[in-house]
Subunit: 258 residues, 2 copies
């Protein structure tokens, strides 16, 4: 049974819109994703997809791939446009539950972990998750003050990598201290030339890497708590690197084959 919704004033449409905001995520413990690329990835990854809202054409096209128990809604182009974060919406959306079970603690993890300290820009956050996936990292920890991982722009730039690596919120001070107690080095990132050149670090299988806020860098407290802080030598006259580019350079260097 597919329910048809034709009015943008419909309560479900309003709730779905709300599921693109931080407040909505906190209230309903659900978030909205858009486009078949990401909806399909979520289904393939066994994510708790509970509702699908799509145009008639999209419902028909992807019907065979939907999970059995998912609620389906047919929407029109006007509603698709209302829900969409893009200029030309594809016309397919899914509601996914946010499970508390997604929470990861630092006392049992292994492999490489990326820690985000107050990163603001959604594109930077999503790109770093995507790069962490590509560089073979196990997961990404969202510290306090880092923007939510359930907003449309972050989701779009993650390109499905949120289903390949573990994502969790966490207290970065606790993460740093616990990893260090477990003999896993934690690298900070600095612009400071007193920090260590990133190319001189010996590769490790298990470690943490912290990237800091776009304008201010890492917090002073975290900087003091790391095993060591790394910097990327700047050759030209640029004052700094974009944080997602710096994260990419560091992740591929630190996690290349041992």
């Amino acid at each position: 049974m597919i329910e048809t919704i034709t009015s943008i004033q419909n309560a479900k449409v309003k709730k779905w819109q709300h599921l693109t905001t931080k407040k909505g995520h906190q209230k309903f413990h659900q978030y909205l994703v858009e486009g078949w690329h990401i909806v399909g990835d979520a289904i393939t990854a066994g994510q708790p997809v509970v509702q699908i809202a799509a145009t008639a054409a999209q419902l028909e096209q992807h019907q065979a791939d939907f999970p059995n128990n998912v609620e389906q809604f047919e929407i029109n182009d006007e509603i698709a446009k209302k829900l969409s974060d893009t200029v030309t919406p594809q016309g397919i959306f899914a509601v996914i539950d946010i499970l508390p079970a997604n929470h990861v603690t630092p006392d049992t993890v292994s492999g490489a972990w990326l820690l985000l300290d107050r990163i603001q820009d959604p594109g930077n956050i999503g790109t770093m998750v995507r790069t962490a996936d590509a560089a073979g990292f196990k997961g990404v920890v969202f510290g306090k003050g880092t923007a939510s991982r359930y907003t449309p722009k972050v989701i779009r730039s993650m390109q499905g990598s949120q289903f390949h690596v573990q994502l969790t919120e966490g207290d970065l001070t606790e993460w740093v201290n616990t990893l260090k107690d477990r003999q896993m080095p934690v690298y900070g990132s600095a612009l400071d030339e007193q920090a260590k050149d990133y190319q001189t670090v010996t590769n490790q299988a298990d470690f943490g890497l912290i990237m800091g806020n776009e304008g201010q860098g890492m917090s002073a407290d975290l900087m003091a708590a790391t095993t060591i802080n790394l910097y990327i030598p700047i050759k030209g006259d640029a004052e700094s690197l974009n944080v997602a580019v710096a994260a990419g350079v560091l992740m591929f260097q630190l996690n290349h084959d041992l």
Copy 2:
């Protein structure tokens, strides 16, 4: 003498707005930049700044740093908002001449050069120019189909690096052939695992590196014309890297100290 402009219907305001578009750049051979960070950088770099439009407060604050012969205009907040590409405009703008002398040809260049093949996203383009600067590249060549370097979003993400490295438009096929004739290797970038692992390349002082379109990668013709094509091994399940991140990883690897 400072002319005061109070109406957003004023012809100068309309022209300045036009200078944020590709059509405007072609018609007037000028472009508009915004914010003291970039206006100040342009002046310091000796760029041909011909007009400054700013609020009374901004004019007063930066007066000492203006070039002698620059035309000055006082504008109000409403005009600043109209001209601005940001949510909270700083209230200072400059008109800069686009000089034909900026054109660079491949038959005399040395050092590392980044070649952009049909890159679409303004943020990616700007970030690559900023990273090229930081990685010690000499310049960036904008191939046909790559978005204009004079639009507000590209300018904002370049963060002043356009005044530190040489930027030019160029025919990439001509660049590749001329560099190769001059014994400078030209590296393509590919997702193809049949390409060469980027970490196995020996550093060179003089070379070209091509980055391709976000969705389609480099054109097949260019791919066939390069000295060799490189790929970054993907370890996780990500399908690809963001092009600006990939460019960062490649540029810092290829241009690290010999």
